[in-house]
């Protein structure tokens, strides 16, 4: 399962966090700090997977934002890359050429969309059209 989703900017600012496993407030800050350090310092040509504390973290950079998802050892990393891309495309469709500013000012909408996509750390809906339809209906 996906343990948490993290969106961080290139300067290390947090734009979105979603936790599917129990992490206390302190643990959350610690995790964010550590992961930011690890991921932001990675070079561009390296692979998108990082081993971290017994978990794997899959990240992908879109413009100035890093989308990170932390998964178990036995999960399929390539699939998670697809899930990240799926989410970005849906955001794109919703906001129309989404940029970081959209996500800053409309973070609650970004959360609603994420909630239509993932529950309990698992994928909910593979169709972008359906997700878009559901969001607009609410």
């Amino acid at each position: 399962m996906i343990h948490f989703v993290l969106l961080i900017s290139r300067q290390g600012k947090v734009r979105l966090t979603k936790w599917y496993s129990p992490y206390s407030q302190k643990e959350r800050t610690k995790v964010i700090r550590e992961l930011s350090g690890v991921i932001l310092t990675r070079g561009p040509k390296l692979c998108n997977f990082v081993e971290w504390k017994g978990y794997k973290v899959v990240y992908k950079r879109y413009a100035s934002l890093y989308f990170c998802m932390c998964i178990d050892q036995e999960d399929n990393e390539l699939e998670v890359l697809e899930i990240i891309h799926h989410y970005v495309e849906i955001l794109d469709r919703y906001f129309g050429s989404v940029c970081e500013l959209d996500l800053i000012f409309n973070f609650h909408k970004a959360y609603y969309i994420l909630d239509e996509l993932l529950i309990a750390g698992e994928l909910q809906e593979p169709s972008k059209k359906t997700v878009a339809r559901l969001i607009s209906a609410q």
Partner: protein, 881 residues
């Protein structure tokens, strides 16, 4: 009006925060906003509640504490309006986590919302439940979720399915309720529901064996058909990603098939065709296709063997491995590690590519590749692979060096075909990355060197050369070099034992002494190195009598050292050189060969099979030189460094080192030939030295006691006989002279009491009970870290002519002991000792060291159809258990 009242719109607050130039400014803005929000909460303000929560969420993301808003979320959730509920649930999921008690208060609202008419509200509730419910909430609301699995609206069904996953993870007992509804979901057409249904089934099967059986029997065929449909389906714009219809569904189905097929041949058979189809027909140009292939290969590797499929899978992996995309290569390396257990040959074929990956610029890939290479090493390819790895060691960067060095050392230790190769490789590693080499590795090297007697000359010469070139940075190299110079310096100078491959080299005595002088004086040398150098100098002063003056000079320079160890050594050695020339040569004779097998055995953590004796003459220098204090054990170490001390680098081991030492290799002892001196563990050796029995693995403070007690020169005879001395010990009569442990050097070397070899825990077996019909033997072992617990293996042998059935052994122990009995190997004891029953016991002695074990036992069995009962008390446990 306060511009930061809760009247501010969310957007404005965000803008204000972003406009802050410094962290202090931001903190000020946030503080004002929080104050306003808190005020608004206190006034119970309805209108701005959802705006407040939205602001709080933003502030939370910035990292500030926001717990005061938690109750507001609850109030919002209870509201009737949809937008308010929505933001309330969102706030709940973000600001709280399942461990908070406040969460329980939401249970009621959740229940109501789960029964709401509006499907979107039901959706909200399911989402919240699925993301953060705790175990109690899960239990309470499980029936609702179950019902919703059959709801008319597919979107609700899919959310309910994922919610159910969390429920069964939190409360596995509830899994049975979900089996049937989950199986029904597998027949869905709607992709969302299908995906979530498949996921639910996968998790159910992992949690409950019953579910696994059920799914295997009922659902496998249906799943195979679904996968076939999806794989063969025409272009559907809604689900299409990179030309493949719904790759997510492909992957989930493959995963479920994996869980079902694992360990079950029938299920695996059903899947073969579709797996082959997916493996061959999937497009590999895009990530989606590769993701599917990856999952497919994982599945093939996990299910029951089908030769053709496995070959297909490994081919795919081979292709992945040469892909230029780093992600694909990483994934391939991962899979290959699992594939090794299945088919080593196939993976060996890719060895060259894997080796290339070790040198890749990507840290994740390097790490994986190194682990893979380690798994691939066998006797035939160890030499070229090690060569490559060592070459790479030179170029690798610092963080990686540590890992790499550790792996190389263990490869060398495990697979070295011959000693000279071992020594060569280790020397190279030491020269390159000596500082990363762990203590065990260079200790092992010393053991090997001392065992390779024909290579002594070669080794010391190689070390001399290496020292000239790389001594600057590599502390460990210096230590090994110093030890060898001390031991074999004469071979170096006289060019003894030249091998054909060597270039001739002339080293004079003063060159050799130079080396040691540099080692002592260099500013980067640490305590151990300097201490080792001092003892090496002492050895050389005996082997090179002409340089004795100079050596003495060097030694005396340390007399005033502020470090106790160095000061002590230099004074003592100086004393030896000046006043005790007659014993000096005996003192620093060549070390007896260290027993490799024992050393390696101990390293592996098992008790060594062979035990060796050695004489310990205690180091009791005359003339009132103080006994080396036990506390700075490291000091006593010089001795240790000579004696390739045992494994593991815990503090206790220093003791061993301490022990191993026998300056008096004692060839003078009558009747005692240079026996192997096995590195011994801990206190035991010390005890050996002092012939006092010790409970194993004592703390250092007790050592001090022992030492001081030894001063008194008393060694309890009784303890000695209680001492478990395994076989080899006995060449000397036990405890000569009632154990006069302190051997005065000047008195020559009197055979010391047999040093009980004790590696941590080896005690002799005892016959616990013997009668005309039954014998019971106890074998003891202790685990190293736990001196109070003894594991006993009891062996029961039938001495009569009748078979014993229903054999039961019972034992009782006094209060200070705790006993645990494992089940016996069987209940039937064949006659006349033709077989035996074994049973393991564990005894924990809370008065360990003060009282020894004692046990009452009772044995009941049937012989010739009559019940027999035997009882007894076991008093002859070895002391120190």
């Amino acid at each position: 009006m306060n511009p930061f009242s809760s009247g501010t719109r969310l957007r404005d607050m965000i803008r204000a925060i972003r406009a802050c130039k410094t962290a202090a400014e931001e903190r000020a803005v946030v503080r004002k906003e929080c104050a306003a929000i808190r005020a608004s909460i206190n006034e119970n303000d309805h209108d701005y509640r959802h705006r407040n929560i939205a602001k709080l969420m933003f502030i939370h993301m910035l990292g500030y504490p926001t717990h005061f808003g938690q109750m507001e979320c609850l109030k919002l959730i209870a509201s009737a309006e949809f937008p308010e509920k929505r933001i309330g649930y969102l706030g709940l999921m973000l600001l709280l986590d399942e461990r908070q008690e406040v969460l329980m208060l939401v249970t009621n609202s959740l229940k109501q919302d789960l029964n709401h008419a509006n499907q979107y509200i039901v959706g909200l509730a399911l989402c919240a439940l699925g993301n953060i419910c705790s175990a109690e909430m899960a239990r309470d609301l499980a029936p609702e979720v179950e019902r919703l699995l059959q709801f008319r609206d597919p979107n609700t069904r899919k959310k309910a399915a994922l919610c159910a996953i969390r429920i069964i993870k939190k409360v596995p007992d509830l899994a049975e309720n979900f089996i049937n509804p989950a199986a029904v979901l597998l027949k869905e057409k709607h992709h969302g529901v299908l995906i979530t249904g498949v996921q639910l089934c996968t998790d159910l099967c992992k949690v409950s064996a019953e579910a696994l059986e059920y799914c295997r029997k009922k659902c496998t065929e249906g799943l195979v058909r679904t996968l076939k449909d999806v794989a063969n389906s025409p272009y559907t714009p809604e689900y299409d990603i990179a030309g493949i219809t719904d790759p997510f569904l492909h992957i989930r189905l493959l995963r479920l098939l994996r869980v079902l097929g694992q360990g079950d041949a029938d299920a695996s058979d059903l899947m073969n065709d579709i797996l082959a189809q997916v493996a061959t027909k999937t497009e590999t140009t895009k990530n989606a296709g590769n993701a599917i292939l990856y999952e497919c290969v994982e599945t093939i590797m996990s299910i029951e063997d089908n030769g053709g499929l496995r070959v297909l899978a490994i081919n795919i992996l081979g292709r992945f491995l040469s892909n230029r995309d780093n992600n694909i290569r990483y994934v391939a390396l991962n899979m290959l590690m699992k594939a090794i257990t299945v088919d080593t040959q196939a993976v060996q074929r890719h060895r060259a590519t894997i080796l290339e990956c070790v040198k890749d610029s990507d840290a994740s890939i390097r790490k994986r590749a190194l682990e893979l290479v380690y798994l691939l090493i066998n006797e035939s390819n160890v030499k070229p692979l090690t060569k490559e790895l060592i070459e790479y060691l030179e170029r690798s960067d610092q963080e990686f060096k540590g890992d790499l060095t550790a792996k190389i050392c263990s490869i060398i230790a495990k697979f070295s075909p011959e000693k000279i190769w071992y020594i060569d490789q280790m020397l190279k590693v030491l020269s390159e990355a000596g500082n990363f080499v762990k203590d065990e590795a260079w200790h092992a090297l010393i053991v090997v060197i001392s065992n390779a007697s024909d290579l002594h000359g070669y080794t010391v010469r190689a070390l001399y050369r290496a020292f000239q070139t790389s001594a600057e940075q590599q502390e460990t190299l210096v230590r090994v070099a110093v030890w060898c110079m001390g031991e074999y310096g004469d071979l170096l100078v006289k060019n003894v034992g030249m091998l054909d491959i060597e270039d001739p080299i002339t080293v004079t005595e003063s060159d050799a002494v130079d080396v040691l002088e540099v080692a002592i004086k260099h500013h980067t040398s640490d305590l151990t190195t300097k201490a080792m150098s001092l003892i090496a100098l002492l050895k050389l002063s005996s082997r090179f009598p002409s340089s004795s003056e100079r050596i003495q000079d060097i030694i005396t320079q340390n007399r005033g050292s502020l470090v106790l160890e160095l000061q002590q050594r230099s004074i003592e050695f100086n004393s030896v050189i000046e006043k005790h020339q007659n014993i000096r040569s005996a003192l620093v004779e060549r070390m007896p060969v260290l027993d490799e097998a024992t050393f390696i055995g101990r390293r592996a953590g098992s008790t060594p099979a062979t035990v060796s004796t050695s004489n310990g003459a205690s180091l009791n220098l005359p003339n009132g030189v103080t006994k080396p204090p036990a506390a700075p054990l490291v000091d006593l170490l010089d001795l240790s460094s000579d004696d390739a001390p045992a494994p593991s680098s815990s503090g206790a081991d220093f003791l061993q080192d301490l022990l191993g030492v026998d300056l008096s290799a004692a060839s003078k002892q009558p009747g005692i030939s240079g026996t192997n001196q096995a590195p011994r563990t801990g206190t035991d050796v010390l005890l050996d030295l002092l012939s006092i029995e010790t409970p194993p693995a004592q703390s250092s403070s007790s050592i001090t006691d022992i030492l001081s007690s030894s001063q008194v020169n008393k060694s309890p005879d009784a303890s000695l006989e209680g001492l478990s001395s395994p076989s080899a010990l006995s060449t000397q009569a036990a405890t000569p002279a009632g154990a006069a442990p302190m051997m005065d050097l000047l008195d020559g070397f009197v055979p010391n009491s047999p040093i009980p070899e004790d590696n941590g825990p080896v005690y002799p077996s005892i016959v616990a009970f013997e009668s005309s019909s039954l014998r019971i033997m106890f074998n003891f072992s202790k685990s190293r870290g736990n001196p109070q617990t003894t594991s006993i293996q009891a062996t029961f042998t039938n001495l009569s002519l009748n078979v014993y059935t229903d054999f039961i052994f019972q034992a009782a122990v006094p209060k200070f002991l705790q006993l645990h009995l494992d089940p016996a190997s069987s209940n039937t004891l064949p006659a006349s000792g033709n077989g035996s029953i074994t049973q393991n016991l564990r005894v924990t002695n809370s008065q360990h060291g003060k009282k020894s074990l004692v046990m009452r036992m009772r044995i009941a069995y049937k012989s010739n159809d009559e019940d027999i009962l035997e009882e007894g008390q076991i008093n002859n446990f070895p002391r120190g258990l």
